[in-house]
Symmetry: D2
């Protein structure tokens, strides 16, 4: 899936210190990049709605990463995020990491995020306004 | 699955700096702990065999983590690793993270690791000796 | 200065992932360990006093690290912290990192920490009770 | 000292995950940024010369950071590096971190780096060619 299919896109420099003993970017860094793209998604509107809807917040339930090719310093990565599934109280976000060197997919994966009501201490349904914002970001309806 | 079912077990302190803005251990740290338990597995014999068998090394193809409960500083975690599936050229390792506070499962997940021949630049079959060592560590046969 | 001269001491495992491309523990990790020992110092009594004295908290003004010898995985480090100077509104904490392999000093350094009143948004004098607790931890008077 | 006085300048995004429990960028991250600017300095010519001059490499002897103001997500930092002192076998590099929010200095510090001959296992004098390259980058002579 090309980067253009991801409505949220970050451009991030690879730091020398992101590499491990094997001479390529350490596997934990991809997970940090996924996190950065998740937060960028919230920043595009959902985060504000979570606050205004009460004491709501996202809880990460699962993260998965498929490492497709190695990334070395120096390089710049482009991280994409897109909500692919919108359940009652959770959503599935897809992530990709493309690197400029070789113009290739370096990793792809997903996060499952639960919408949590911290006052009631339980998951809550996505409010209609939040669904509308996600579908606006995605440019169309998102399946359940 | 209790920690005792994992032949490789690490005891690691939670550092204050492992926490993020939300006041609990950041999701990337679990992935680092998984890595630590993978390396501890190699240290138990497989790593030596990889070197002696030629220019072989493990390549991480996938990592998955299910976050079950939040971990706060101060605490100590116990990370377990076990090879649950042994394919022709890859294996699936299961990881668990238990924390002492509340004596509970904090996360569980898995890694898929490919055995790679760096000279031939392609995946290779697990040598019989390596399978034997894994099954010795696991205390019995591992399914494919 | 031997580790025994440091009243706060932490034993921390070196993780494989603490290493960088050069094959030894990355320079940022020592700073994280310093932080861990600073927090352990607060945990020994000062932290409680900060809270009970109002909206007080420590602000890190400076950190310095002298790297004395390289640390490789696997190893265990012992990190020591001691308050060496107690000014009106700031203190100087000394840190050491000893590693078990070779039983040697790997790093030494210091942190300068300012006691900050978040309500008044300015540094405040150390309360007598806090000075007493520090001198109790140190086993004697601390110079200014 | 303004950013323009630093010949090596990096623009780096602040990641959400760079923040700690206190809600601002964790003190270890500045040290990572210093490292990134050091490596960027080597990349500007010194690194190549180290390799061509034999088995030479930089060893970090000391790092110091003065934290001047807090950085919060989202923001972009500009990290500058400049060699301020050039000794026989070591150099002192100055670092600054400016953040765009508030257009202010967030941190300043320095690294002391020793030029090391890995074959002879001892520090070596900076070759004339390396000094010339540093002074070319700096736009003038660098004091000892």
């Amino acid at each position: 899936m090309p980067l253009d299919d991801f409505p949220i896109r970050l451009e991030l420099p690879v730091l020398w210190g992101n590499q491990d003993l094997f001479g390529h970017v350490n596997n934990c860094i991809h997970i940090r990049w996924f996190e950065s793209s998740r937060v960028a998604y919230w920043d595009a509107g959902i985060g504000e709605l979570m606050k205004s809807a009460g004491n709501l917040g996202p809880i990460l339930a699962n993260v998965t990463c498929n490492y497709k090719s190695q990334i070395r310093y120096p390089d710049t990565v482009h991280v994409g995020a897109s909500v692919r599934k919108l359940g009652r109280t959770s959503l599935t976000m897809e992530h990709v990491v493309f690197c400029e060197n070789g113009d290739r997919l370096a990793a792809e994966g997903q996060s499952i995020v639960v919408l949590f009501d911290y006052d009631k201490q339980r998951p809550v349904r996505f409010p209609a306004e939040m669904i509308a914002t996600i579908e606006e970001i995605e440019g169309g309806p998102v399946g359940g």
